[in-house]
């Protein structure tokens, strides 16, 4: 089972810190954010760490699935 992180409504850079911390102990992760800046930061971080990241819009939110290549 994947861990799901609900990071909606949290100020920058808390979504990034929570995602980074979760990825230190998991190979895959689903993150939910509702802010464009948080979405971009998390995707950028995942890319820099050589993770695969897929983002889909779900209503007003973004669901980002991150997993190791």
């Amino acid at each position: 089972m994947d861990e799901i992180l609900d990071l909606r409504g949290l100020s920058c850079p808390i979504p990034l810190i929570k995602t980074r911390d979760a990825l230190s102990s998991a190979d895959s992760l689903t993150v939910i954010v509702d802010d464009e800046a948080a979405r971009e930061n998390i995707l950028k971080f995942a890319k820099s760490q050589k993770y695969c990241a897929e983002c889909t819009s779900v209503g007003p939110d973004y669901q980002i699935v991150i997993f190791k290549k």
Binding site: L5, L10, L16
Partner: protein, 357 residues
């Protein structure tokens, strides 16, 4: 990574700031999220210093430009509710810190690009403050979740842009409702149309680039992300070359425009801005942009900055070319203690993780 956006944002902010000085703004005063907001506070009568009163169209342009592009891109969302009162306090202390140094972090870069080495001291303080803020973030600091507003209450998200529009109309017609300085820095300004155009352009770009002075240093410290730092590099170079071209460059600490050489207080002033901006989720510029995007928590922070300008000038706690008076030193000290207390004690419990299938 969008290199075009990095280049364009850096050039418009760097070259634009120097052009504004060329067209009439005071020295190294093309853009400043703190000082220019302080001038707006003066125009509104929030402080009574007659030489610092002008509703700067640069700031109004930032707000209107960021709002326009956010609406166009579908990124305007009315949201809020993440402890606005504490964000008001953080905005207030950010302004106290910035006015101790005489500039926000953006102006620190612009001052440095014109040879004012006090900018270096201040930026060292700013980076240290961000480091302190990150310490609190790593130890669980947060102000709770914001929520998107629904229905009629979404109208509150338009308050910032409405206020900016009304101010722009009033300043354009020299309305008696606003104060206008007749001498001093407040009386020095580029023609409104030039200030507005450069404000609009930089507001659009700041929104698209997610420009945040504290965010650049913070993201580098956290995850070695250099995206925003690259913008500041281009901005610095563009401003440096423009200052050299127009003959504004003068290397040294002493006798710089709208600056003082009390190094400890230049350092601590932006230290306070760094720590408060990290806890508030963005620097003074970013707060203005987020407020324009409908973020009412950022608006609370901006209103706190306006109040901070009133306190700083009402209590003789703002810096001046002669230095920072004792009141200002006490204000910065109290601000640092207060902000550290917020970082230490505000750790709202939030459940973020669940197991999926």
């Amino acid at each position: 990574m969008n290199f075009g956006l990095i280049l364009l944002t850096g050039i418009v902010f760097g070259l634009g700031a120097v052009l504004l000085v060329k067209f009439g703004n005071p020295g190294n005063y093309g853009f400043c999220a703190a000082c220019q907001l302080r001038d707006i506070a003066g125009a509104l009568g929030i402080h009574q210093i007659g030489t610092l009163q002008y509703a700067r169209p640069e700031i109004l342009g930032w707000i209107l430009g960021a709002f326009g592009i956010a609406r166009f891109k579908g990124e305007f969302v009315t949201r809020g509710g993440s402890n606005p009162l504490i964000r008001f306090v953080l905005g207030m202390v950010m302004m106290l810190g910035a006015l101790a140094f005489l500039g926000c972090p953006l102006r620190a870069i612009l001052r440095l690009s014109a040879g004012d080495l006090n900018g270096l001291t201040a930026l060292a303080g700013f980076a240290s403050g961000i480091g302190a803020g990150i310490y609190f973030l790593k130890n669980g600091y947060n102000l709770g979740r914001a929520k998107a507003y629904q229905g009629v209450s979404t109208g509150i998200g338009y308050l910032t842009v409405l206020a900016a529009f009304v101010l722009l109309v009033l300043v354009s017609v020299n309305a008696a409702a606003l104060n206008f300085s007749v001498k001093g820095p407040g009386s020095m300004h580029a023609p409104i149309i030039i200030s507005l155009i450069l404000g609009l352009a930089s507001g659009v770009l700041a929104q698209r680039a997610r420009m945040c002075l504290s965010g650049g240093v913070r993201d580098f410290m956290l995850v070695r992300d250099t995206y925003l730092l690259k913008i500041y590099g281009v901005l610095f170079l563009a401003a440096l070359l423009s200052n050299l071209y127009f003959g504004f460059f003068k290397l040294g600490f002493a006798d710089q425009p709208l600056a003082h050489t009390m190094h400890v207080w230049n350092f601590l002033g932006l230290f306070l801005v760094g720590i408060a901006a990290t806890l508030a989720g963005g620097c003074p510029l970013r707060q203005l942009i987020m407020a324009a995007e409908g973020d009412t928590d950022a608006l609370a922070c901006v209103i706190g900055m306006l109040a901070g300008a009133g306190i700083a000038h009402g209590m003789n706690a703002a810096g001046a070319p002669a230095g920072l008076a004792l009141n200002g030193q006490i204000a910065v000290g109290i601000g640092i203690v207060l902000t550290a207390g917020i970082g230490l004690f505000f750790r709202e419990k939030i459940v973020t993780a669940s197991k999926g299938v």
